[in-house]
């Protein structure tokens, strides 16, 4: 009897098979319109249009906006977050998320700095140590979520506090200073006029985007997020995929934290507080869904760029930086609301 009822209840959203025939019969003229609509429906395209629009408006109102120096400044500003966005995108696609990214950034920066300053280790070893801390934090998140079954909100909220606590505890709240000048090149130097952090971010983003589109291992994230039950029944090791995504998020956070530390030439235990919300917002604006199965790295990066542009606009227009949260929050809620509305239309049409 349960069966009968559920069939009946589900019956209403079985798509009508007549739509296929309709599409065939549609005229060529409306096809072109349809293609344009379809292109805009691709989130990346919509984001590109939005970003270009913002740029046009900005260049009209501010003489300082349209300059290479300003663009490089903006890009350097979001390059660290751009790396973190990659890991967060993977997690969101798999149907999870990570609140501990900001704390893990701070902790791994401090550990790396501490290894070099107090431990006198060569920079590559210190960096590996910092990345290992990130991997460990992500690994713990992954085990707690997949093996014990704790909700990712709680698991990573816990890690957020623990990592921050470690960063503050080890340093008694003081920054770790006197990082070797040579190491600072990673954060401050540039190659062919392009700052190193931007280069690193571009490489990470490109590789991750291609692997998510074409790579076997990362394609599994979409299956897991799209329908965990169906993925399990299709022979995909759901727990392992999710665990890997948490480790990736930890490692990318550590990478970003270490680059930031190099740029400031000191490990700051109180840095990057609240960054997780900005990262998740960027991913969601760029097309990720909190229920999983959707999103791309390119889209998430475009979301981040859009937010960075708006922040830049505030600076150029002389609005206090303290108002930033209002703008970010409004963009986030508006973007997701528009998405919900357009989906509802799609379903009813």
């Amino acid at each position: 009897m349960v069966r009968e009822t559920s069939v009946a209840l589900k019956g209403s959203d079985v798509p009508a098979s007549s739509t296929d025939a309709d599409t065939v019969q549609r005229s060529i003229g409306s096809r072109v319109g349809e293609i344009i609509v379809n292109i805009l429906r691709i989130r990346e395209m919509a984001m590109v249009v939005l970003i270009l629009l913002t740029c046009v408006i900005m260049s009209i109102f501010s003489p300082y906006f349209l300059s290479l120096a300003n663009f490089i400044a903006i890009a350097r500003g979001f390059s660290m977050e751009g790396i973190v966005v990659v890991g967060m995108t993977m997690l969101l696609i798999s149907g999870n998320f990570d609140l501990s990214v900001g704390s893990v950034m701070a902790l791994s920066g401090i550990v790396t700095a501490w290894f070099m300053v107090k431990g006198d280790m060569p920079p590559p070893v210190a960096v590996l140590g910092g990345l290992a801390i990130g991997a460990a934090a992500g690994g713990i998140n992954g085990v707690v979520v997949t093996r014990i079954g704790v909700n990712p909100l709680i698991a990573t909220l816990g890690m957020m506090a623990i990592a921050r606590g470690c960063a503050l505890g080890f340093t008694s709240g003081h920054p770790v200073i006197n990082v070797p000048i040579g190491f600072a090149w990673i954060g401050q130097g540039s190659l062919a006029g392009v700052p190193i952090p931007i280069l690193i971010m571009v490489v990470v983003v490109l590789v991750a985007d291609v692997l998510l589109r074409r790579g076997r291992a990362l394609r599994q994230l979409y299956y897991v997020g799209g329908s965990p039950k169906a993925a399990k029944l299709s022979g995909i090791n759901v727990n392992r995929v999710v665990f890997f995504a948490f480790v990736a998020s930890g490692v990318f956070s550590a990478m970003a934290g270490i680059i930031s530390m190099a740029r400031l030439t000191s490990g700051v235990p109180t840095a990057f507080a609240g960054v997780e919300l900005r990262i998740i917002a960027a991913c969601v604006i760029g097309g990720c869904s909190l229920s999983g199965g959707e999103g791309t790295v390119a889209g998430a990066l475009l979301g981040l760029i859009f937010m960075a542009l708006v922040t830049n606009a505030l600076t150029l227009f002389g609005v206090s930086i303290y108002w930033e949260g209002v703008v970010t929050g409004t963009i986030l809620t508006t973007a997701v609301s528009l998405d919900m509305i357009s989906r509802r239309r799609l379903r009813t049409s």
């Binding site: 009897m1 019956g11 209403s12 798509p15 074409r214 979409y222 299956y223 799209g226 329908s227 029944l233």
Partner: protein, 507 residues
């Protein structure tokens, strides 16, 4: 005597099916009226219409002489119609008492709940069923049986004049069932009208005054229980001409591919079966008979608790779906939207899901290989899609089911278990899926088809396994499998009951 509820020419359509067609039904005060029928006969739909969950598309509902349009279950309740749904609608974290008294909680002058009074009233209400519980304890501490009784106690406590019970004994034991019968008779003698929806015919005959039989959304008839017999009711439920054409069966070689010996697990016990190549084994039973659970056990989704699984005579340990897949088993689940498909992904992604490794190099997916596989599937299974990139959610039900088949055929399975493969598909797609299953058998696969549709089982199967209450009660060769016989086994109305295990296998 005015009827408590009178359903007049009730019609209800869902996309693809006419669930109810001009059905007449009447509930008098002081009677227990059983509503029976096969799965899909429309008894649930009729019940949900009388409970105010669905509005009817046509016809009229008259409650105590007044024509009404029920807006929602709450409206029905205010008119004195209380319903116990099969799915429990309880708050597990709240106390037992608060679950019994969800509506009219006793309050004092200041509008505050008088808990002590509520607790003692709850104790009294549950004592009628012979169970002692602590009314202060959270409900989740108690078994499903107790929760079911709490749900029934709640409906009774509302002083309903008409009570609708949907499979009320599906989760409770014999002792509670007996108590429930006593309570229902007591209520009947007080003038309450009770609609008892069940497919357990022995219970229906033990308790009801009248029986209404539905079949394929139509009323077959209403009879007085005293004037009829279980055999006659079974005949009313299933008596139907085979009007569908099924693909011809194939002869030839058959080998035992998979064998289960005394398999036990959640929902089934002591099942022994052999599954043979080149043949279709139909598994019939009512909802809750343990068919799906058995399939899930064989496929390693829910761990088995006893017995063995052998493949080509070799014992195997199947602890998760991936192991089952490596042994050549494929399972097409019953709930394709939840367990089978990735609805928001493309046709290609769906077909590729079971063989990602075969479709990729060390790092990258081979775009062309996956594309070829998906195109091949579209051609072979005649899937109506715009292309391999179309989202599966935008396909029709029958085409979605074909995508699910394609996903598993990509692995060339030796054993294919299809759970309700034609549910929710139209007649055309149904015939195509039947042809496909037969073709797979012809090509040497061992096909297991779980189905609740008797004509389908009889038309498709080389052998029919019948399950009831977690046990395999009969394994019939197709010559011996008649509608009445299979239905009688599934309903437990076959004279000797469950003990009569029949095996007409010609080995």
């Amino acid at each position: 005597m005015t009827a408590l509820i009178k359903a007049h020419k009730i019609t209800k359509a869902f996309p693809g099916t006419l669930a109810l067609d001009q059905v007449e039904f009447e509930l008098l005060p002081g009677e227990i009226h059983a509503l029976v029928g096969e799965n899909g006969a429309g008894k649930s739909t009729l019940m949900l219409i009388m409970a105010g969950v669905y509005p009817p598309d046509g016809g009229e509902l008259v409650v105590e002489g007044q024509p009404v349009k029920l807006r929602d279950p709450n409206h029905a309740q205010r008119l004195g119609i209380s319903t116990v749904f099969q799915e429990l609608a309880l708050a597990p974290n709240m106390s037992v008492a608060e679950n019994v008294f969800t509506h009219a909680q006793p309050v004092n002058g200041a509008g505050l709940v008088r808990f002590e009074e509520m607790f003692s009233a709850t104790e009294r209400a549950l004592e009628v069923f012979g169970i002692k519980v602590n009314p202060r304890a959270p409900l989740r501490r108690y078994s499903v049986a107790v929760q079911q009784i709490v749900e029934i106690a709640r409906a009774i406590q509302r002083q309903a004049r008409a009570l609708i019970l949907d499979e009320p004994t599906s989760a409770i034991g014999e002792r509670e069932t007996e108590r429930l019968s006593q309570v229902l008779r007591m209520l009947r003698d007080r003038g309450v009208g009770i609609i008892y929806v069940s497919h357990k015919l022995d219970e229906v005959f033990a308790i009801s005054d009248r029986i209404t039989v539905l079949k394929d959304g139509k009323l077959v008839g209403t009879v007085r229980t005293a004037d009829t017999s279980p055999e006659a009711v079974v005949h009313m439920m299933v008596g139907r001409e085979l009007d569908q054409l099924f693909p011809p069966r194939n002869g030839g070689q058959e080998d035992t591919v998979l064998e289960v010996r005394n398999l036990c697990g959640p929902g089934y016990t002591n099942v022994s079966l052999d599954i043979r190549s080149g043949k279709v084994l139909g598994v019939f039973g009512l909802t809750g008979a343990g068919r799906t659970e058995l399939a899930r056990g064989i496929f390693g989704i829910e761990p088995i608790t006893g017995g063995n699984i052998l493949i080509f005579g070799r014992p195997v340990k199947i602890t998760d779906p991936r192991k089952a897949m490596n042994e050549g088993i494929a399972y097409i689940p019953e709930d394709r939207k939840q367990d089978g498909l990735f609805l928001e992904m493309s046709l290609l992604d769906n077909v590729a899901a079971t063989c990602l490794r075969a479709l990729s190099g060390p790092v990258f997916m081979h775009g062309s290989k996956g594309d070829a596989l998906a195109r091949d599937a579209i051609g072979k299974l005649m899937i109506k899609a715009r292309g391999v990139a179309q989202r599966v959610s935008s396909l029709s039900g029958g085409n979605q089911q074909k995508v699910l088949f394609a996903k598993w055929l990509a692995r060339n399975p030796k054993v294919l278990i299809a759970d309700e493969p034609t549910r929710g598909t139209d007649v055309g797609a149904k015939a195509e899926i039947h042809t496909l299953l037969r073709k797979l058998a012809k090509e040497g696969a061992a096909v297991v088809m779980i189905s609740s549709e008797l004509p389908e089982v009889l038309g498709m199967s080389d052998r029919v396994a019948v399950m009831r209450e977690g046990r395999l009660v009969a394994l019939l060769d197709r010559n011996q499998a008649t509608e009445e016989r299979v239905a009688a086994y599934a309903l437990g109305a076959s004279g000797d009951g469950a003990a009569a295990y029949e095996r007409t296998d010609n080995e």
